[in-house]
């Protein structure tokens, strides 16, 4: 199962400067584990010690914030696009 993950600039040092990574996983949690296998070290930046996504990081599945879905248990399907976006100030 292929999931496209969009990587923000501060994390691209773990992806050899690539802004897009393909990985697998049927939930966000599984996707993060898969990402960690191909890009070692990235999970510790995305998640805290308990595996919870850091509070200033927003994760979207096909443009929907996962906090409106099932959070880290949100299920993923083949071809889904996940974007990881740091919080932005207002406008």
């Amino acid at each position: 199962m292929a999931i496209k993950v969009l990587i923000p600039t501060p994390l691209q040092k773990f992806t050899e400067d690539r802004a897009e990574i393909e990985c697998s996983g049927d939930t966000i949690d599984a996707m993060i584990d898969s990402l960690e296998v191909s890009c070692p070290g990235i999970k510790a930046r995305i998640c805290d010690d308990e595996g919870k996504l850091r509070r200033f990081l927003n994760v979207y599945v096909n443009s929907e914030d996962i906090r409106f879905l099932d959070g880290q248990a949100t299920s993923l399907a083949d071809g889904d696009e996940v974007s990881i976006v740091p919080a932005v100030a207002g406008g």
């Binding site: 501060p10 040092k13 932005v88 100030a89 207002g90 406008g91």
Partner: protein
């Protein structure tokens, strides 16, 4: 990636609060700012174009050498400075000649009629509805961000905007001769769209809400070498709001107010006003005193108010549905800091319905002659609620921040302001109309043929 400035820098991996100047040696500007520091974990970075911590994604904040500022500033020097935010340049993160478009030093109006109506004794309106050049507080933050953008070598500037920021970025970029491309939600009020287009930037009207515009811009910022005022320039940009604190203190005769009420969108303005007060205390320009900070949100977009009321330490995002589009940020980046500040200072965070927002706009207009936009209507409505709930002491010196102009959001009040009385150019026609006007509610005029 094309033309990307190298914005990535190595963090001080072990956040060591004792070593506050990692950027020493790279400090090649003439300002008093020293570096960026993560508000969450304390990691430190050079003062480049970056906005989040590489270690924990916390927001980065500009740090200063306050001893140097204290040596350089005085009330007299500030008073003799430009009649704009740049009289406080010592406190702002720029090192070059600033882009000065006359932003700031807006009136602090003693609002006696509104105060009487609400039962307060000492109420002031900080009126950024007349801030220059684009009639909102955004001109403050953009003046700072674009000055810094120029210093960092950007030639194209951009923003994700609910309207006011796009107006301001486009106007000040035009003045500074910078290329400009702005992103707005496609459903913005027409006044805000026209008020951007006129400066001839490239305008992207995104089919989505502000949070989706933000997300897109974060992705664009990743791959284009542009200075996004509220993304990669955010640490500098947000510092501009401190001037709303500085000016109020100076205009009150170098004193701090007892209580402030300000609108909450991302939460940045609210926290920076307070930071401004703290910096004046730290540099000896005002006497220390507690200032209660209360915030206003629309009920249709209330993630910060909800976190405050439920005593949570995280913000659950919402999908906005309110006429107050300029503060309709469902996923506010500085929301949690706004909650902490309201709690810590003994302030409150309250909400207003769309109906109350319109009433707030009318109340301010009718009592003080200020036509504000929906964000200001929200703030006035919340002020009224806080007074009614006994949460603002009538004897306190209270300052309300009005941050935008009503001429930009005419749709919000169009059907609530009545119509003119149309008459013939004859005295008897006027007299008949005048008699009717004395007896009819203004909203009934439109149904009456005089």
């Amino acid at each position: 990636m094309t033309g990307v400035l190298d914005t990535r820098r190595t963090a001080t991996e072990s956040p060591d609060h004792q070593h506050a100047h990692p950027a020493d040696g790279h400090h090649s500007h003439s300002g008093h700012f020293t570096h960026l520091k993560c508000k969450e974990c304390g990691a430190e970075y050079e003062a480049t174009a970056m906005h989040v911590c590489e270690l924990c994604f916390g927001p980065l904040e500009v740090k200063y050498d306050y001893e140097a500022i204290a040596r350089n500033v005085s009330r007299e020097k500030i008073a003799a400075g430009p009649n704009s935010i740049w009289r406080y340049k010592d406190f702002l993160p720029v090192g070059s000649d600033p882009i000065d478009v006359g932003t700031g030093m807006t009136p602090l109006l003693k609002a006696n009629r509104l105060a009487r109506r609400l039962g307060l004794k000492s109420l002031y309106i900080k009126n950024d509805a007349v801030n220059m050049p684009t009639l909102s507080f955004k001109d403050r933050v953009v003046s700072v961000a674009l000055t810094r953008a120029r210093e960092l070598g950007f030639t194209t500037v951009s923003c994700a905007s609910t309207g006011n920021l796009a107006n301001s970025t486009a106007a000040i970029a035009a003045h500074a001769g910078l290329e400009c491309c702005v992103f707005i939600p496609a459903d913005l009020e027409s006044g805000k769209v026209l008020g951007t287009l006129i400066y001839n930037p490239t305008v992207m009207a995104v089919r989505g809400n502000y949070d989706q515009v933000n997300r897109l811009c974060s992705e664009v910022a990743n791959s284009y070498g542009w200075g996004f005022v509220n993304i990669n320039l955010r640490p500098y940009y947000s510092e501009g709001s401190k001037t709303l604190g500085f000016e109020v203190a100076e205009q009150l005769g170098w004193q701090l107010p007892d209580h402030i009420v300000a609108p909450l969108a991302s939460g940045s303005l609210f926290t920076k006003i307070h930071k401004g007060f703290q910096e004046l205390i730290a540099t000896g320009l005002v006497e220390s005193k507690p200032v209660k900070c209360s915030g206003a949100q629309a009920e249709g977009c209330n993630p910060i108010a909800t976190a405050f009321k439920e005593e949570r330490d995280f913000i659950a995002p919402v999908k906005p549905n309110t006429i107050a589009k300029s503060i309709a940020i469902g996923n506010p980046a500085d929301g949690i800091y706004a909650v902490e500040q309201a709690r810590k200072t003994g302030g409150h965070i309250e909400t207003a319905t769309d109906e109350e927002i319109v009433e707030g706009i009318k109340l301010l207009a009718e009592t003080e002659g200020i036509f504000t936009e929906t964000a200001g209507g929200t703030t006035i409505a919340v002020l009224k609620k806080l007074v009614e709930a006994g949460k603002i002491n009538p004897d306190e010196t209270t300052v309300v921040y009005i941050t935008g102009n009503g001429l930009k959001t005419q749709e919000a009040v169009q059907s609530h302001a009545g119509q003119p009385l149309e008459i013939d150019p004859k005295l008897d026609s006027f007299e008949r109309a005048w008699d009717r006007a004395r007896t009819l509610d203004r909203l009934e005029w439109q149904q009456v043929l005089v």
